[in-house]
């Protein structure tokens, strides 16, 4: 458990993606089976363990510690698992004998309700501080280490020198402690054969249209589709097993029983998950904010199913029946897809329409002014392209609608992490609003990218030279009508928000330009943002 605990401690504090991957790879290479498999399960969220209530952990501790001293300690640390891991005193004479992670988990899985208390107590007595913390986080079910399943899969791919797509395909057919997977990755065995047919297949991704990318391309070689603002999903119904996956391969079937139940065809399709009505029922597609009501749930109430009906706007087909059709061209696949959708439930499936166009200029105009507010751009797909997992440059492009822009005023700055730890690189910006009759800057968002290194130097210098107040790591900067720093903020969308004081929330805000030519009094007003929301709602 000690090696796993050390890994968790490092992962929590490492902000860089590459550093996290290297820590994971090194752990997977050196940790024995089945420990590494259980560690993987704990990180990727596939470990099933009867969890223990925090109250029980507290009780166990108070059996041997003064309540007042415990309270002082807990108040200081603020996290129960961490406090207990630090203050726990094993009885005199007990030795730290590192319990392997696999052994600890298997022991817990075998323990009945009545014995949990004594087993947990015994484990705490035998682990050292750091391992106690990892153990307590595991049994209370809240690892929270900032590592996604996707990142863990990338580390597995790096470990074995494989493509992450291969791991993603295998993933749902395997279970902890993943012995065949690690044997394959370390070159000791063949690739594991899949027992579950409805596995996830890595999705095909598009590259953004860059400057000059389209110049050499012939519009006649491409089909165009709208890019919808939902979430990209893969729906599989193979061998009687139905599954819905997000584009990163996380299973989200539990939250969408309506869609799964309607999927009475055999095959695997790719599409956009949306809420509202399909084109076939002639009802409107609803916004991403509405879709969010259905996301990240394990189960869903009938009230929610009725208020936020989900459907799939189909983009592509990977398996027709049991046949793998990915090697065929886009047009052939699309014909099969059209056929499948035609026979599927009209409330739950429609076909993403093609957008006719004859020149890039015409497409550019359509992109700038799409016919539906839930469209976020255009997809371009080569007519002869096979379905290739990953982000291959050439066959597919995404061409987003122009972002929204506003001029805002820097209000607060916070130091960054890692490479940027000596820079003020996270910025809160605001716009003007009349608050109780006074012109005031209200914060409307936060951005920490978009600028160049040279621009960051300028921003950082401004923050250091114009700090008015400090709150821990945050600095407030001068922001007055005639003195301050104006930035042009670009963002992809805007919604109403009850969580933010300003009442608005931006999607993907970033600093597009420094506007040293402007004074704060020239910055935008909150009404401008509110009007953007209304315009969106009224189309």
């Amino acid at each position: 458990m000690r090696a796993f605990a050390e890994l968790l401690d490092r992962l929590v504090l490492s902000p860089q993606r590459n550093a996290k991957i290297r820590l994971l790879v090194d752990y997977f290479r050196t940790a024995p089976d089945p420990d590494r498999g259980y560690a993987l399960a704990a990180i990727a969220g596939t470990l099933s363990l009867n969890t223990v209530k925090p109250a029980m952990i507290r009780d166990l501790l108070l059996e041997r510690m003064d309540a007042v001293l415990f309270q002082y300690s807990y108040d200081y640390v603020g996290d129960l698992a961490e406090t207990v891991s630090l203050v726990w005193e094993p009885p005199a004479g007990s030795v730290h004998s590192d319990i392997p992670l696999g052994e600890a988990i298997e022991r817990l899985q075998k323990t009945g309700r009545a014995d949990v208390r004594s087993v947990v107590r015994d484990m705490l007595d035998h682990l050292d501080t750091s391992a106690r913390f990892a153990f307590l986080k595991l049994v209370t079910g809240g690892l929270r280490i900032g590592v996604s399943a996707k990142l863990a899969k990338q580390a597995l791919a790096d470990m074995g020198g494989k493509d992450v797509a291969e791991i993603e395909t295998l993933w749902h057919g395997l279970s902890p402690p993943y012995l065949p997977l690690f044997r394959w990755l370390s070159g000791e065995a063949e690739k594991p054969a899949l027992s579950t047919p409805a596995v996830f297949h890595s999705v095909m991704l598009a590259n953004p249209v860059g400057e000059g990318d389209l110049d050499a391309l012939d519009p006649r070689d491409f089909a165009a589709e709208w890019k919808w603002d939902g979430i990209r999903v893969q729906l599989a119904n193979i061998g009687g097993v139905r599954r819905l996956y997000s584009r990163s391969g996380d299973e989200i079937s539990g939250a969408f029983p309506d869609v799964l139940e309607a999927a009475d065809f055999t095959g695997v399709i790719d599409g956009e998950l949306l809420v509202g009505g399909t084109a076939r029922t002639n009802r409107a597609t609803r916004t991403f904010a509405d879709l969010q009501q259905r996301l990240n749930r394990k189960t869903v109430s009938s009230k929610l199913l009725e208020a936020y009906p989900a459907f799939i706007r189909a983009y592509d087909i990977l398996f027709s029946g049991e046949a793998d059709v990915r090697p065929q061209g886009f047009l052939e696949r699309r014909a099969m897809l059209a056929d499948l959708v035609e026979n599927a439930s009209p409330q739950h499936f429609d076909l993403s329409p093609l957008v006719p166009f004859s020149s890039w200029e015409e497409l550019d105009r359509l992109r700038a002014d799409p016919p539906d507010p839930v469209i976020e751009g255009i997809m371009l797909k080569r007519l002869d392209s096979p379905y290739t997992p990953g982000r291959v440059k050439g066959p597919w492009f995404k061409w987003k609608r122009a972002p929204f822009n506003i001029d805002a005023v820097l209000m607060y700055a916070q130091r960054g992490h890692g490479k940027r730890s000596s820079y003020y690189s996270d910025f809160t910006f605001g716009v003007w609003a009349a608050v109780d009759g006074t012109e005031t800057l209200v914060p409307v968002g936060k951005a920490y990218f978009g600028f160049t290194d040279a621009e960051l130097e300028i921003l950082d210098r401004f923050v250091r030279d114009n700090t008015t107040e400090r709150f821990g790591p945050v600095r407030a900067v001068r922001a007055e009508p005639d003195f301050g720093f104006v930035v042009e903020v670009a963002f992809e969308g805007i919604n109403r928000s009850t969580r933010h004081k300003s009442g608005v929330a931006m999607r993907f805000p970033r600093i597009a330009r420094l506007r040293q030519d402007k004074l704060p009094r020239d910055a935008d007003r909150l009404e401008t943002l509110q009007a953007m929301i209304e315009a969106r709602e009224n189309t």
Partner: protein, 336 residues
Amino acid sequence: MKPDALLYPAPKGLYCPIGDFYIDPVHPVERALITHGHSDHARAGHGQVLATRETLDIMRIRYGDGFCGTGQAVELGERLTLNGVEVGFHPAGHVLGSAQISVRTGGTRIVVSGDYKRRRDPTCAGFEPVACDVFITEATFGLPVFHHPDDRAETRKLLTSLAQFPERTHVVGAYALGKAQRVIALLREQGYHQPIFIHGALQRLCDYYQSQGIGLGELRPATLAADEKQDFRGTIVIGPPAAFADRWSRRFADPIAIFASGWMLIRQRAKQRGVELPIIISDHCDWPELTDTITEIAPAEVWVTHGREEALVRWCEIKGIAARPLHLVGYDDEGE
């Protein structure tokens, strides 16, 4: 004699009215006895200063030659009499030159621990328990959560990371007096013999430690001449904790932020400071060291100074030892 008549907290610090001297006063006084060279305990501007030779040297390095009227060096273990009060200096194990100060008149003896720790430190003499009626202890880490791990295992973490991320600069924040030298000495003990790069603020104190026979190996300034191109990848650089947030740290290739402090035990502390690799090394006692020391010395009474007094006072209550907080002001937490 009641102990309060021998020594009590006054606005300028702990005061002995019979001997007419202060211990670690926070404002200038006529006569000061100084436990060790950290700036919150050893301030400039006193008339007469009594301290170990090393502490006087350190004060001179930090404040210049005129740091006090007259300085008098006291040997560890030596006894002297001030207006009939017997005063003694005893090793505290905190940093080079650190001492506990005992004060006795008639049958009453009080020991002021200053800052102290109980574990081995290659850069200073170890703590010696002194029997007394009143033991005045610090409580910087006076909460049951604090269990400092083995310092060799902690420095090994740094060397492991250096092997794992050889392209990154390992920038270690450490207090300029004591902690920095201890970290360097521990690295040397573990067989790390590459040059270690240090911030300018550490130079004179490191030179002083070396002149006192404490081997720190090859140290080089972490500064660049205008024409030099060196990005320090794969090296260890040590600087004062505040230097991290400073533009100073920008010269380093993909720096990994490391902080050597007892506070690094608490994950949220490390996170808030943006520390990527916490090294839990402290020059203060952890909770078991504090409580074991009180048990070992078995004083009639315990007075608790700066830190988290309430928990240690509570522990004494449970054990049936008379204890009270002194509420001295002006002493910092380590590394903050």
